[in-house]
Point group: C2
Chain length 205, copies 2
């Protein structure tokens, strides 16, 4: 077996670990993930993990970053709407919610430090503490365009973006935690959520 084959095999096992971890998280949540659950499912010894990952946290971190990527891709897939930045903004958040609800356990881990407060901090530090996240940057740009186009009255775009974001975040977490909500009720909640928020930012105070 040559060098390349070897590295490929390594990658395969690493990916298998991640795949098994993903399925466990989907079933039992991030809290339900354990090294031994992973290795039992793979017919390996627990110690094998530490050949492919620094520790359990690195596995979770990898999946969390995957989640960030998915959500970023979802919001970036919204095509620019020069004439109606407010419509665009709503589409961005609609996609955001949709994607978050598609990976509920990962989303919780991403946002709530579900396994230790380390993750988010290190992630932030790596990107430079107080720099805006790509998603937040998008939102701010969009809101600024909305102001320029006269969709909203003048305001601090970052402050407004943060409020819409935290509000939407709250709704999503509620929808995830309260599992037994009908899809009709979800739609009602999301609609009213946007109705209130978008009316709110359009009011001239």
């Amino acid at each position: 077996m040559g060098r390349k084959r070897q590295l490929q095999k390594q990658e395969e096992i690493r990916n298998e670990i991640l795949e098994v971890a993903r399925s466990i998280i989907a079933k039992d949540g991030v809290r339900g993930l354990s090294i031994r659950k992973i290795t039992n499912a793979m017919d390996y010894s627990p110690a094998i993990i530490y050949h492919y990952f620094k520790d359990k946290g690195e596995i979770i971190e990898t999946l969390v970053n995957e989640g960030y990527g998915r959500i970023l891709a979802a919001v970036r897939s919204v095509k620019r709407n020069e004439d109606e930045p407010d419509t665009e903004l709503r589409e961005v958040f609609t996609n955001y919610i949709k994607q978050a609800l598609a990976i509920p356990e990962e989303y919780k881990a991403m946002m709530l430090n579900d396994e230790g407060a380390v993750l988010q901090k290190t992630a932030l530090l790596e990107r430079g503490i107080s720099r805006r996240s790509p998603t937040m940057q998008m939102l701010c740009d969009n809101i600024q365009r909305g102001i320029d186009k006269g969709c909203y009255p003048p305001c601090d775009p970052e402050l407004t973006a943060q409020i819409i974001w935290t509000a939407t975040f709250g709704l999503i977490i509620k929808l995830i935690i309260e599992k037994d909500i009908s899809s009709e009720q979800v739609e009602r909640l999301v609609d009213r959520h946007f109705e209130i928020l978008f009316s709110g930012i359009k009011v001239r105070s």
Copy 2:
């Protein structure tokens, strides 16, 4: 030692356990709470816990219920304002935020099932699954009064209450998790939060 003294002594130890647990949670969060941490601080053996509580979950549940009580008291302390139900509503949420930020770790545990998804469900089941919580009942009544007084256009009070609540919940969790925010920034966020939400629900669509 008489019977009453004996029961009193029992209560004292129970309360000491809770007190120690509270201080550990304040420092290390609900996740950082462990039976052995409690009993070491009290110079007892770990097994003692199970004479005063069914299990660790019951300790957390007790503190979580305490948190519910505090928050309910805080929102109930707002005096009824017949003429301006919207001002009253804002005061209710202001108090809610203030109290939640006073017990951040407990609030997280209350809302996010920080230690197993059991807590919230059993708590809900005990009160009858789909009955409104006391706080939610307050909000709905208030909003209905606001509609009657002409503060807001007609709407589903429960739906609107849920949206304001989830939005505020999202803001609070963000404020708790991102520990290093100045109090000025907190104030700015809370102000803009209410500005958007209250403008939003007053808009006639």
